[in-house]
């Protein structure tokens, strides 16, 4: 059988190569000779066949174990409680607890897509191409993993920890009993500032529908200040990082990064201080 021939041929080649890691290094340096390659048929084609057979077997098992569900006929008259989006969007739906729909459902997903598209163009690091590494690209891997973790954690919460009225349910809570309505009242940041700092509620200017108070200007300052400080600190402290990226890449990266960090930040602000919005305008609230 000639199958055997090529198998032993590749075995011989691998024993001379000094292992996978060495192979990668040589490849990265562009030093690959024909002795390092094998024919796609049978080597790769068989691998593909086997993985497809495996996947089919697992799918068939899943189908028997848990067939596709069908609930009652759609009816506009009875709203299920809770109404849940498909699981892959539940992270976004979970964000609705903390953000208005225009942010959670539209702007943040758009940022995610744009941010993903930008990745190859804002990461100038030539290292770590074609092999797994953490040490050669710490910021990139950490940032990406953080975003992924956030995405999956929110999904897990949405799927398993939300029940009636979108309240928090532990696995041991009775899913058919409503959780007692929370006693906490959510307040806007500007109201908190107003009362703690004793600021006047009288607007200092009125722009159409927009009555601008001192507290409101302060919240604008805090909101924009978050970005301003976030843009400035790495510029001052990690000038090498800035220089490597250049002006445009740096600003895009920082904007995406700070917007991503803003999501858990707002969640913490809500959970710690019961703040509903950090910024209120007649047109949108954040």
């Amino acid at each position: 059988m000639s199958d055997k021939g090529s198998a032993s041929e590749s075995k011989a080649a691998s024993s001379q190569s000094g292992g996978f890691a060495a192979l990668i290094k040589r490849t990265a340096k562009g030093k690959i000779g024909p002795e390092d390659t094998v024919l796609v048929w049978p080597n790769l084609v068989y691998l593909e066949l086997i993985s497809m057979v495996f996947a089919t077997a697992i799918l068939l098992f899943l189908c028997l174990y848990s067939p596709a569900p069908l609930e009652e006929l759609a009816s506009a008259d009875t709203t299920p409680n809770p109404t849940k989006a498909p699981w892959y969007f539940l992270g976004l739906q979970e964000l609705l607890v903390f953000f208005d729909p225009w942010l959670a459902g539209v702007v943040l997903p758009t940022f995610i897509i744009i941010g993903l598209i930008l990745i190859p163009y804002i990461d100038p690091n030539p290292l770590g191409k074609g092999y797994y590494t953490f040490s050669e690209r710490k910021f990139a891997v950490t940032g990406f993993s953080f975003g992924l973790a956030l995405w999956y954690i929110l999904i897990v919460i949405g799927v398993w920890f939300r029940g009636l009225d979108w309240s928090w349910y532990w696995p041991w809570d009775d899913p058919h009993m409503h959780q007692p309505a929370g006693a906490v009242k959510l307040v806007d940041l500007e109201v908190i500032l107003q009362s703690t700092l004793g600021l006047s509620e009288r607007p200092i200017v009125t722009l159409g529908r927009y009555a601008v108070t001192v507290a409101n200007i302060l919240t604008w300052g805090m909101f924009l200040g978050y970005y301003a400080v976030g843009f400035t600190i790495p510029f001052l402290l990690f000038r090498k990082f800035y220089n490597r990226l250049g002006f445009v890449r740096y600003n895009l990266t920082m904007f995406m990064f700070l917007s991503m960090m803003g999501v858990p930040l707002k969640i913490f602000v809500r959970l710690l201080a019961n703040i509903k919005y950090v910024l209120v305008t007649p047109w949108f609230n954040i």
């Binding site: 690959i32 189908c63 069908l70 009652e72 989006a85 459902g105 190859p120």
Partner: protein, 256 residues
């Protein structure tokens, strides 16, 4: 036994019919193994030779390939389901119920379609994670990463449009959640920032375009059906073709 199989194979390989289809003998020698990659429309997605490292399962984890496999399975099971499904709010639910009760293998095909869809979404994410962690988006593969992000989006929208078709409570309300978000779009949604200022109302905004109405009803079902069974699969297939083409042109990033 093996001897017998081999004899049968050798005989079949020499028939005119076999040669007319495959244009060369069975790929059991290096010449034919190269030829099969050139002359077979499916296999020619591959190069003739790959680096041994590219076969390392621990590099790709087969994630991209399996995503593609789920897409193919979805196309096959989807065609089967289309024979039994009419996108009419009065009939759709009954159609789906029949799949589970009166149609041979209906439940199996429907379940396979659903599980493949879930798997495809999950595997697109995992594949993207692999590509990120191996830095495979770095030059010259930037654009193929962008194509990948487009595929990620079409995969999610494909899944979501399919969710409505059974026309059960799950479907209706999951899509209602989504359309509420569309209404909240800045500028182009009637409930979004600056939407009303720009003249958006429930009968002219983006949610109206999506649903073909103000509620999830017959027009929405038809729209989602056409998007799900025709438009989005075509777009996805097109971008998958570009994706594969670029993998070949840019070269595989791994130890290849």
């Amino acid at each position: 036994m093996l001897e017998l199989l081999k004899r049968i194979r050798n005989t079949v390989n020499k028939t005119q019919v076999f040669k007319s289809i495959f244009r060369h003998g069975y790929p059991d020698n290096d010449a034919n193994r190269a030829l099969v990659m050139f002359s077979n429309v499916v296999l020619h997605l591959h190069p003739v030779r790959v680096h041994r490292g590219a076969l390392k399962i621990k590099f790709t984890w087969c994630l991209g390939g399996l995503t593609f496999f789920f897409f193919i399975l979805l196309a096959i099971t989807g065609v089967f389901l289309m024979f039994y499904y009419v996108p009419d709010t009065n009939r759709a639910y009954q159609n789906i119920q029949d799949l589970g009760t009166v149609i041979f293998f209906g439940d199996l095909f429907r379940s396979l379609h659903r599980w493949s869809a879930h798997s495809m979404v999950l595997f697109v994410w995992l594949h993207m994670t692999r590509v990120f962690l191996t830095g495979s988006y770095k030059p010259p593969r930037e654009f193929n990463w962008v194509v990948g992000v487009i595929l990620l989006s079409t995969t999610l929208v494909l899944s979501w449009t399919g969710y409505l078709l059974p026309w059960d409570q799950l479907a209706l309300w999951a899509v209602t959640v989504g359309s509420k978000m569309a209404e909240a779009s800045p500028l182009i949604g009637n409930a979004g920032p600056f939407g009303p200022e720009l003249g958006m109302n429930p009968t002219n905004d983006i949610a109206f375009v999506l649903l073909g109405g103000t509620v999830v009803g017959q027009s929405a079902l038809l729209r989602f059906y056409v998007l799900h069974c025709l438009a989005l699969p075509l777009v996805t297939a097109l971008f998958i073709a570009v994706h594969f083409w670029r993998i070949r042109k840019d070269g595989f990033s791994g130890p290849l």
